[in-house]
Point group: C2
Chain length 263, copies 2
């Protein structure tokens, strides 16, 4: 997996050339859906194009699932699942908590994953065995490890927004939020990275597409965390619909939160 | 004001030595209030100590209002208003949207202000005439300018959290949130910096202390924005209680939002 991990970093380098120069400059924001405001920047599209082109050139036998340009060759054993700019709302409002997400799934299982924040220069990634951090404040890659927390009453939670939950999910989510010590909104992929880094204890989200979460699965798992859907099942990366996600730094928090979600 | 602007940057340099090494390491989090979870890190206290010590040494005739160690000599014509780590929740959860806030008020009016984010290396500041950005992506300081926006329906808004509003304020805030195109939570002082940079159009908050907002007043104003309380009055920096704040990038958005707040 070493060569593929290095390739994953190369994909991030290439994507950065398309995303970073467009961060905090006026971009054309278009509506992807009619009813909802779902901004897609030019950077999103250009970055996915360059990532796809590099994969097709270097690993023509691999499949790709991407946010902007859909799925190709997903019957392959190796499938790259990519979101060039996760957190487009953060991107267009100038907040550096968006990230480029790239996952390599092998036979449906997320093996490698990376979250790259080009403005801060941070990379949170799994090489298939361990999770690591590269970025400001470290001279060499640093092992990521989730932290233990005795109970939800002591736990720090993140979610992108209380508005991401469907009407029928709000009560379940609310039962957890009411118990935790601290909740922080507005984090997107950054939330899972902070969980892997042992900064927080719990992330609960819903309505995520496969490309929003795939890269974060091995980062959380290989840092010692737990990440499943709200029923406690492994995240089904090749499932085309949206996903309900719970990620926790330790078993105590995971069990307590999962029980509340399903009460 | 040039010498005082340079001194303000020096204060940030000194504070950084106390805050940045404590970011994303295990810190002792203590409860400042009995009922609420209000984390104060060691970095908060140490940074304020070093800022106060530099002010006392260089400008002994100036007054100081600080988050951690209260007020001294506030009858002076020149009063520094400081929050060493605004966004302590962001700080303890590892998200780089906290900032060191330093304001110099002269005869009760905020003349100079800076928001410094040490992890990203960003500085948003006013020198008393114009607002500027220093940080990644620029080789020299860059003028900050707010942007125009025709109506709330097109506007992007930020607030720290919907939970910051008192029960009697929620309806007023909700009337605005219901109108805007996009709302983003979890930004603290970063929200006002993005407003000054023309990335967003509106910030509405409540429950802010003087040291939470003072530095941001000149940054917003000198970038062309409007910042007042919810009644449309200038922010009273020396008022000891909490403040309701509205900040907008242009008059159209300000007027529309202010009217909704007071409907």
């Amino acid at each position: 997996m070493n060569k593929l991990t290095a390739f994953m970093h190369t994909l991030c380098d290439a994507a950065q050339n398309e995303t970073l120069p467009r961060f905090r400059v006026n971009t054309v924001v278009v509506n992807k859906l009619d009813q909802e405001f779902d901004p897609v920047t030019e950077g999103d599209r250009k970055a996915e194009e360059v990532i796809r082109s590099l994969i097709n050139k270097n690993y023509p036998e691999h499949g790709i699932i991407g946010e902007e340009f859909g799925a190709e060759n997903v019957e392959a054993s190796h499938v790259w699942i990519i979101d060039p700019i996760d957190g487009t709302r953060a991107f267009i409002t100038g907040i550096p908590v968006w990230g480029t997400l790239i996952c390599l799934a092998v036979d449906g299982k997320a093996e490698l994953g990376i979250m790259h924040q080009p403005f801060t220069g941070e990379r949170y990634y799994s090489d298939g065995t361990n999770s690591y951090y590269l970025g400001p404040g470290v001279v060499a890659r640093k092992r990521l490890e989730t932290r233990g927390c005795p109970s939800l009453a002591e736990a720090m939670m993140m979610t992108t927004s209380p508005n991401i939950f469907a009407p029928e999910e709000i009560a379940a989510y609310g039962r957890v939020e009411a118990q935790v010590r601290l909740v922080r909104y507005g984090c997107d992929c950054y939330a899972y990275s902070m969980l892997a880094a042992g900064q927080i204890d719990l992330v609960i989200e819903s309505g995520l597409n496969s490309y929003d979460i795939a890269a974060l699965v091995p980062i959380v798992k290989d840092a010692g965390g737990i990440i499943t859907d709200w029923q406690g099942n492994p995240v089904n990366l090749l499932h085309p619909g949206t996903h309900q996600i719970i990620a926790a730094g330790c078993e105590a928090i995971y069990n307590e939160a999962l029980n509340l979600l399903n009460e």
